[in-house]
């Protein structure tokens, strides 16, 4: 059995799919036997990125979100993509507490959480075309820890 495993999931931009996306990623990494904390980290980061596609990318209109996950040995790669409005100023968007939608009670902490909980975060965006979030995290599987 080769040591990489890869999935691509496309789903509708609907808020009820936020928990679905988290469950899918949690199920995908479960073969590595991650700790509860590692699973929580990954679920939070995925939740933030998917929520952003729904609220900011598609502004609650219809759209498709693509989630790619890849495991290479004990390294998890996640890509979350929308074809929504995109981000004009990525640097500003990534500032902690910055939000373009305070009226929706956004805390502006989404990117900060993605950075805190994953090892790497990269944001690619083209205004009018969409946004892609790339994240990486090494899973210190229970086995290698003990």
């Amino acid at each position: 059995m080769s040591e990489t495993n890869e999935i691509t999931l496309e789903f509708d931009s609907k808020s009820k799919n936020e928990s679905f996306a988290r469950m899918v990623v949690a199920a995908f990494v479960s073969s590595l036997d991650p700790t509860i904390e590692e699973i929580a980290d990954i679920k939070t980061a995925v939740s933030e990125a998917v929520t952003n596609c729904i609220i900011h990318g598609y502004e609650n209109e219809e759209g498709k979100i693509t989630l790619k996950c890849k495991l290479d040995k004990n390294k998890l790669f996640i890509e979350i993509m929308d074809k929504g409005k995109g981000i004009e100023n990525i640097k500003q968007a990534m500032e902690p507490l910055y939000t373009s939608k305070p009226e929706l009670e956004r805390s502006g902490m989404g990117f900060a959480f993605m950075e805190a909980f994953m090892d790497k975060l990269e944001v690619l965006s083209t205004p009018g075309a969409g946004t892609t979030i790339l994240m990486e995290k090494e899973i210190q599987s229970a086995a290698s820890k003990s």
Binding site: E37, A40, S47, T51, E105, R106, G108, A112
Partner: protein
């Protein structure tokens, strides 16, 4: 004390996200699902309609049944905090597990809200 307690489930939903209780001018929101954006939208709507009735001073968010929260959860708690702070009210969280606690710590939310072990502890202290 307990006789003016009303228990309100949002029963029109496929799956309810919280149980709302009002006792002694305190709104207790017992979360029954993961507190994300989807859930936050419903909590916001329901709690604001209860707050609008005018007899709520403090709010307790109980996490006994909710083992996950993201930044949308921070948003909905901050939003309710802003509603009650003007009338001298407070916001507390209870039964917070390690995962949710981490989110509160990182977000800095503990600067404005209090954490208690149980709902009872929170009610006594508020």
């Amino acid at each position: 004390m307990e006789n003016n307690k009303e228990e309100l489930k949002n029963g029109n939903e496929e799956q309810s996200n919280a149980i709302f209780e009002v006792t002694d001018h305190c709104l207790i929101i017992k979360l029954t699902s993961e507190l994300d954006h989807h859930c936050a939208l419903k909590i916001r709507e329901k709690s604001d309609s209860l707050i609008a009735k005018g007899n709520i001073k403090n709010i307790i968010f109980d996490f006994k049944e909710a083992n996950f929260m993201d930044s949308s959860g921070i948003g909905v708690i901050m939003g309710r905090y802003k509603k009650v702070i003007f009338t001298g009210g407070k916001v507390a969280v209870t039964n917070v597990n390690e995962t949710v606690d981490r989110i509160f710590r990182i977000s800095g939310l503990y600067k404005i809200i209090e954490k208690y072990e149980t709902i009872k502890d929170a009610k006594k202290a508020l």
